[in-house]
């Protein structure tokens, strides 16, 4: 579904990714694990076209997306939930949601405003609040709901649990598990090993801009040596 092959990328003078390759399969959840600074977020930003590709190729559903703008990539069916959530502070919760909902056709059984609010009822109580008046958990719910309203075929999430209270982490986990159960393909970057491996089917571990381990979630949970070596778990 998503095929990232031998990509190089970075910020300005600093190269971060050195020939990183990974594949996301339809209907499955791929977790991208690794220590801080390994290049996980850089990988997602490069996939979304937010960072220029300096080498390698990225394709989505067989079509190349290398060199395309974030706008084109979003249109092709990839939704992105950034680490910083990036809720628009000048827009209300409702406007944040509508922005995504009005831009993409809703297929039969797809995500509507009502369904997104049913997934996160808390957002329903906050519709007229400003985007700058939300707690971290609410902002994360909104970022996920907003991405779903694009009715994407692939959802990529960057550290959805970062900075959240355990009870909210639990809630986000259950909602993402529900989405997985409904067959949504996802790429998940996480620091939280337990959270990631309980959701994921497949796992890649990134270190110094390359994939150093790949396998299934069950395999990484069993491989304490790899955990210790690459993740410091």
């Amino acid at each position: 579904m998503l095929d990232v092959s031998d990509i190089a990328s970075g910020y300005g003078e600093t190269q971060v990714l050195y020939g990183l390759s990974l594949k996301a399969e339809p209907g499955r959840v791929l977790a991208v694990l690794g220590r801080n600074g390994a290049g996980k977020s850089t990988t997602l930003k490069t996939i979304m076209g937010l960072l220029p590709l300096r080498g390698g190729t990225v394709s989505f559903e067989g079509r190349p997306i290398s060199g395309r703008t974030p706008f084109d990539i979003a249109r092709m069916g990839i939704a992105y939930v950034p680490e910083t959530r990036d809720i628009f502070p000048s827009l209300t919760v409702k406007e944040n949601l509508e922005l995504a909902a009005r831009r993409f056709p809703c297929p039969p059984g797809g995500w509507t405003m009502d369904r997104a609010i049913a997934l996160f009822p808390r957002l329903g109580e906050r519709l007229s609040n400003g985007g700058n008046e939300l707690s971290g958990g609410e902002a994360q719910m909104l970022a996920i709901a907003r991405a779903l309203l694009m009715n994407p075929r692939l959802l990529i999430l960057d550290e959805p649990t970062e900075g959240l209270a355990p009870i909210i982490v639990r809630l986000i986990h259950d909602k993402l598990a529900e989405l997985k159960h409904q067959g949504l393909s996802m790429v998940l970057v996480e620091q939280n090993f337990g959270f990631a491996t309980s959701l994921a089917d497949d796992v890649v571990v990134v270190s110094k801009g390359q994939v150093v381990w790949r396998g299934t979630a069950a395999e990484i949970r069993a491989d304490t040596e790899a955990q210790h070596k690459w993740l410091g778990v």
Partner: protein, 289 residues
């Protein structure tokens, strides 16, 4: 201090008139800056051009035609400017942008000299606008009332579009975070273009309606640039509320300063600017992004 109520009404109208002209100029410049992070110092030159086009067209086909054609002509020029320069310089950094658009000011000044000469031009308004209106007990030129009304209509229309419509939400999202807006499937490049062109049209409109009350001269664009920049810095870069507040503050401080404290008038607005920069460096109504 004068206690005559007529004095206050008169000066308030003068202040409003200046505020509305500044608003038409600053709103385009500030939204373009907020959205594109692009500093277009030649914005004032577009205003001057609007005045020249309006005067020329008015001479041929009447005042109304001039007011309609000037924004369209300036918008067309803005579109050309966008494709030839602005789009290519989006990532060139503020220093390069400032230098190039500052250079454009002088190009525009000499181009207007070539076409229209060095002498100030005039433009006459239709007879029905030439008279005086009785307003709250004072006589006030009808045309200046028209400037205030046009400014208020534009202000209301822009506020409505920006705060109540989907297009407005897209623009606000773009000002907050253009990259995330693009990730949600918003064609940010096209939005930049449209906002830039609309901003140019408003500058052209400002030039056209200011033409009858000011002398149209090649350097009028340069003269309006500093007040416009002061307005958007006081108000907060990128914010509509800021442009409204900044324009009103500038208009009133300048107008009342000139009559109440003539010796201080020329430094009053700069003192205010300095105070804002010290106390609220991001302006009075900064954008939240």
């Amino acid at each position: 201090m004068p206690i005559d109520p007529g004095f206050w009404v008169l000066q308030t109208l003068n202040a409003l008139q200046l505020s509305m002209l500044l608003f038409l100029l600053s709103v385009g410049l500030t939204v373009i800056f907020g959205l594109m992070h692009f500093v277009n110092l030649a914005h004032g030159s577009l205003y001057a051009l609007g005045a020249y086009v309006a005067a020329t067209v008015a001479g041929l086909a009447g005042f109304g035609a001039g007011v309609v054609v000037a924004p369209l002509a300036v918008a067309t020029l803005g579109a050309a400017l966008y494709f030839l320069l602005i789009r290519r310089m989006r990532r060139a950094g503020p220093m390069a942008q400032v230098l190039v658009t500052f250079g454009l000011i002088f190009v525009a000044m000499d181009v207007t000299r070539m076409f229209w000469g060095d002498l100030p031009m005039g433009i006459s308004v239709p007879a029905w606008l030439n008279g005086q209106l009785d307003f709250l007990g004072i006589e006030y030129p009808a045309y200046r009332i028209l400037i205030i009304v046009l400014g208020l209509i534009t202000l209301a229309a822009l506020t409505l579009v920006l705060t109540r419509t989907q297009v407005g939400a897209m623009i606000r999202a773009g000002v907050d975070n253009d990259q995330m807006a693009a990730c949600l499937g918003i064609n940010v490049e096209r939005m930049f273009f449209i906002v830039f062109v609309v901003g140019c049209a408003l500058a052209g409109l400002a030039g056209a309606i200011a033409a009858p009350v000011l002398a149209i001269s090649p350097d009028m664009g340069l003269q309006i640039l500093i007040p416009t920049l002061i307005v958007i810095v006081i108000g907060g870069l990128g914010s509509l509320k800021g442009a409204i507040a900044g324009s009103l503050i500038f208009g009133f401080v300048q107008t009342f300063g000139a009559v109440l404290a003539p010796s201080l008038a020329s430094i009053l607005i700069y003192a205010l600017l300095a105070a804002v920069l010290v106390l609220r460096p991001a302006g009075l109504f900064p954008t939240k992004g």
